[in-house]
């Protein structure tokens, strides 16, 4: 299986994720789309690791998963806080900077 096939699948998933981020006003749906984009990058890293015969790509994928875990934890806490303040998870509702 050529590397390009995995890269094209990764590009497709990344573009779909970007579409979700732009299309949705719902903060939860946007987070889910960001997860999809992170996984698209992971697939590309793992496929490249196999192609080049090195494990660096797989290790980078571990770091991406660790960062994704941190991102989801903090992101969901922010979503819960916004939902408490504005009774909605619509990102356009949280448009003022007051604390």
């Amino acid at each position: 299986m050529p590397l390009a096939a995995y890269e094209l699948l990764g590009a497709l998933l990344f573009a779909l994720g970007a579409m979700g981020v732009v299309l949705r006003a719902n903060a939860l749906s946007m987070l889910i789309s960001v997860e999809l984009m992170l996984n698209a990058v992971n697939l590309t890293f793992v496929a490249a690791a196999r192609q080049y015969g090195q494990l660096d790509g797989q290790v980078i994928s571990f770091f991406v998963i660790a960062v994704a875990a941190a991102e989801v934890g903090v992101g969901l806490a922010i979503v819960i806080d916004v939902a408490r303040r504005h009774t909605t998870v619509d990102v356009d509702a949280a448009s003022e900077l007051r604390g």
């Binding site: 998933l13 939860l28 797989q58 994928s61 960062v67």
Partner: protein, 175 residues
């Protein structure tokens, strides 16, 4: 590569099935309005990706993907979706209004075209000659704990900071 022989290798079959499931589930996750349906669809895509990792020789990452991503991260996401969606009475907390209607597909199309053009033009890399290490996990540990030791330690600090930040943010009460 002889185009006239229609014999599929195991890897090609796995790529076709798992990649197809992954693409369909991902599209469904993005196009659904309901975050719960999106989250469950994304979980299917994550499992399909785990299968692809396995066929790419990343057996340990297959386990991590299922345990950490499809397990822990998605449970947290679904938990919060249910938490915010199950507060009857007031107007629904789940925003359904689509935003910037046509911009999304246009952005996706432009991005995919750009990436695909770059991928197709990239020089073809010769397949590796070296056989994968017999002890996959030990080889992985050698890279992770020697070459990437400093990023590994930074990752632990990042996770601690995220843990504390999440607790502080989520427990704050609005006056």
């Amino acid at each position: 590569m002889d185009a006239l022989t229609f014999s599929f290798t195991a890897e090609q079959a796995i790529f076709a099935v798992a990649g197809g499931i992954c693409a369909i589930a991902a599209a469904n996750a993005v196009l659904r309005h309901d975050p719960l349906a999106s989250a469950l669809s994304l979980t299917i895509a994550l499992f399909a990706l785990a299968v692809l990792y396995l066929s790419l020789g990343a057996a340990f990452l297959f386990g991590v993907q299922i345990a950490v991503y499809a397990g822990a991260i998605m449970v947290l996401l679904v938990f919060v979706v249910m938490l915010l969606g199950a507060t009857g009475g007031r107007p629904p907390l789940i925003a359904r209004r689509p935003r910037l209607g046509l911009a999304g597909p246009l952005v996706a199309l432009a991005l995919f075209a750009l990436l695909a053009a770059a991928i197709v033009r990239a020089p073809v890399v010769a397949a590796p000659t070296a056989e994968p290490a017999a002890d996959h996990v030990a080889a992985l540990a050698d890279v992770l704990f020697v070459k990437f030791l400093f990023p590994f330690e930074i990752a632990s600090v990042l996770l601690l900071a995220a843990l504390i930040g999440a607790v502080v943010l989520a427990q704050r009460r609005t006056p």
